[in-house]
Symmetry: C2
Subunit: 447 residues, 2 copies
């Protein structure tokens, strides 16, 4: 990264000055500034913020944690605090207000003009993880009969408050969304062109209660910069910008990874999650898997006489069932992701099974051969080595079949296939793997 | 999604018309159009494309697979094909040319004007997964002494070819990047304002050889819509837009998930990956884990006399080692993601270990209690139930310690912590879990 100014002003030297160097402040990126503000003591932070241009200060504030945002605004001069708050985007204000104590939120809300306060209050009522919770009300709307020139004048007047001006939303008499004009097209067109002539009337919009995953999928599919959110009457109530969607995509990936590891996803960052909450997220699946996995004991008990006769069979139990679990884990991690990105669908079931069985056959033969020689290295008979080898082959095949079919079937049944974690598939094939192993042993060793 | 036009024109009825309905075509989203084009036979596809406005046709083409793009361009009238190709963004052209046969690429390149052809040729030389491979050369640059009005005129002239106009890149005499002006700020400022007065001079840019993961991290950290790419002399050579970064984020998440499942990540979509290639990606880790896991057999063999005396001890082997693996899998999936998003660092090692050991203690006690009663349900002595219960507790604790430390230590050693997959951690704690189990058994049962 080429960040010459930051290099010139080493953070330490900058931080040593209580007075912010004016030239630096105007040039800094809001994000870099926020990193500096976070490291300062409160007195200095307030002094710096007061010295900054308003828009830059508001943008830098948006990168701080909600609690720190609140503390800062609360201790600033009331007038400045209220101007800063107004300048912040509405989705950031909502995030802050939802994170602090309701009484503190009340106090902040009083700083806003009444009509804006109402908008914020409305935004706060949308449930988490929906389009409504992601949207901002700071957009630019215009009327269909306006010319490009008129619209530009309007943007100059109100655009400072808008989060983005890349799209101009054309609304009708009742506030209903009737079209979208991209700023690019408007600028490329003649200044006297009416918005009605260049607006896309086939608008892609989302309802406020749509799940954030779906919003992210739509925005990234179309490659838009922002998506309009409408109510049931198709009235424009907000927009969702791409940066919020990037965050959603990251969150969803984190969730998938945690589920695949066999845990309920954490709702907070790792260090903010208490031990008790980690425990509760994890014990659910550990308990299910422990109780489910206990059937392996019953399976082995039923083969007690076989094990009594050839105790060395038990030596290979961990290796063989582990291999079944590993094979399954590889397959489900591929398929769950492919289902998530809609690369694989239920109608592909037989294609997937065939593909996984053929791959499983190759893998099973390879591991079967290695298994034979591994067993031969120990003090066991050739017959037992044969049993281990065959068991490895059939366990891999069986695990491939189960792991290929299960995620697709669950997806079909509208159950999130991500419940099939690595641990779950391992547990599922552990017991059945033992049955395969013991049956082969009984057949080959004539027990 | 509210897509009234699509609803009016059911795809079937639209597709039944060989002639594209003009009103529909001008209003459709490029993505939706591309979905329709993909379903058509070639004759109809060519007819539709010829009837579409050029920019819309080019945008829709960009959503098609490289092979289909090539086929379409190759069979269109040469003049139209060349205009369409010029209209496509340069990163898309590069993707297409790299996907088809070199001779076909050569043929396409000949359609482009010479200077543009050189640019494309240069773009094609950047290695995959670097900033250079993601960038497009279709941006708007301007000079510092231009006024807002002048710049707008310039954009009207050249902006049609640009992928975005949200940022205007200010370059110096030698093409070096000296500042960035957001279109928003330029429009909000007085038309006579010089770019030099509103440009951010402390530019965040990336070198062409930066890894795409890092590019994605920078873009999402700052919330930019696009990042400029510069050469060693700080000359602007291209820009990377957020939609490419979203794709990178998705790819990286897919890779992490596949690695976590214990497989080398696939480089192609699932159905494009051959069985042989699936085999090669998977056998590596399966082989390592099989050979590594084989030490469990040696461990058990060394306890042969114990197992001979109390064969029922073997009943609980799969359950206990499975639980160790499950605990580990939960922890590493959380930590690997937290390391990836830089939420956790090596300096947090002891904090992480403490947190995981306390959580592990709670989990171990819970599972120990359940384990005792589970064993009691079977035909074994109370002493054995005690052994199972204690083993569950200590195996969970041990697995927590290993799984908490290992990813952080690897990260510190500059080894991708994602090599610690669920299967790897399971295999690691399988053998040690058996030692814990057997040692407790020998101590409690006085064997």
């Amino acid at each position: 990264m080429d960040n010459a100014l930051l290099k010139q002003h080493e953070p330490q030297s900058v931080l040593a000055n209580a007075d912010p160097p004016a030239e630096l402040l105007h040039q800094l990126q809001p994000y870099d500034l926020s990193e500096m503000l976070r490291e300062m003591d409160e007195k200095k932070r307030l002094k710096w913020i007061a010295a900054l241009p308003l828009t830059l200060a508001a943008e830098a504030l948006e990168y701080l944690e909600p609690e720190l945002q609140y503390e800062t605004l609360n201790h600033l001069d009331g007038n400045l605090a209220s101007m800063l708050l107004k300048q912040m985007s509405s989705d950031m204000i909502v995030d802050m207000l939802l994170a602090v104590h309701p009484l503190q939120a009340e106090k902040m809300l009083k700083m806003l003009p009444e009509d804006y306060r109402e908008k914020i209050n409305a935004l706060m009522r949308y449930p988490e993880y929906t389009a409504g919770s992601l949207m901002t009300v700071d957009y630019v709307s215009a009327r269909a009969h306006w010319t490009g020139e008129q619209t530009l004048r309007h943007i100059r007047k109100v655009g400072g408050e808008a989060e983005i001006i890349s799209y101009i939303y054309v609304t009708g008499m009742r506030g209903e969304l009737v079209g979208i004009v991209s700023l690019k097209e408007m600028i490329l067109a003649h200044p006297q062109t009416k918005l009605a002539d260049i607006a896309k009337k086939d608008v892609i919009s989302v309802p406020a209660d749509m799940e954030q995953e779906e919003v992210a999928a739509i925005l990234s599919r179309y490659g838009f910069y922002a998506l309009p959110v409408v109510d049931r009457q198709n009235r424009l109530i907000g927009i969702i910008t791409y940066d919020d969607v990037v965050e959603v995509i990251q969150e969803e990936a984190t969730e998938d990874i945690q589920k695949l590891g066999g845990s309920q996803p954490l709702s907070e960052p790792y260090f903010k999650t208490s031990v008790w909450s980690l425990y509760r997220k994890r014990i659910v699946w550990l308990f299910i898997l422990f109780v489910g996995g206990a059937y392996t004991s019953t399976v082995l008990e039923s083969y007690q006489s076989t094990l009594d006769k050839v105790v060395s069979l038990s030596f290979f139990i961990p290796l063989l069932i582990g291999t079944g679990g590993n094979t399954g884990s590889q397959i489900i991690s591929t398929l769950i992701r492919a289902l998530g990105t809609e690369e694989v669908k239920f109608r592909d079931l037989f294609r997937v099974i065939r593909k996984e069985l053929v791959t499983g056959l190759l893998l099973g033969i390879s591991l079967g051969i290695i298994g034979f020689f591994r067993a031969e290295l120990m003090d066991v008979s050739v017959a037992i080595s044969m049993v281990v080898s065959l068991a490895a082959l059939f366990i891999v095949l069986w695990s491939s079949l189960v792991s290929a079919a299960l995620p697709l079937v669950l997806h079909r049944l509208k159950i999130d296939p991500a419940v099939v974690s690595g641990p779950l598939i391992s547990t599922l094939v552990d017991g059945t793997g033992l049955i395969i192993y013991m049956s082969i042993a009984k057949a080959v060793l004539h027990l």
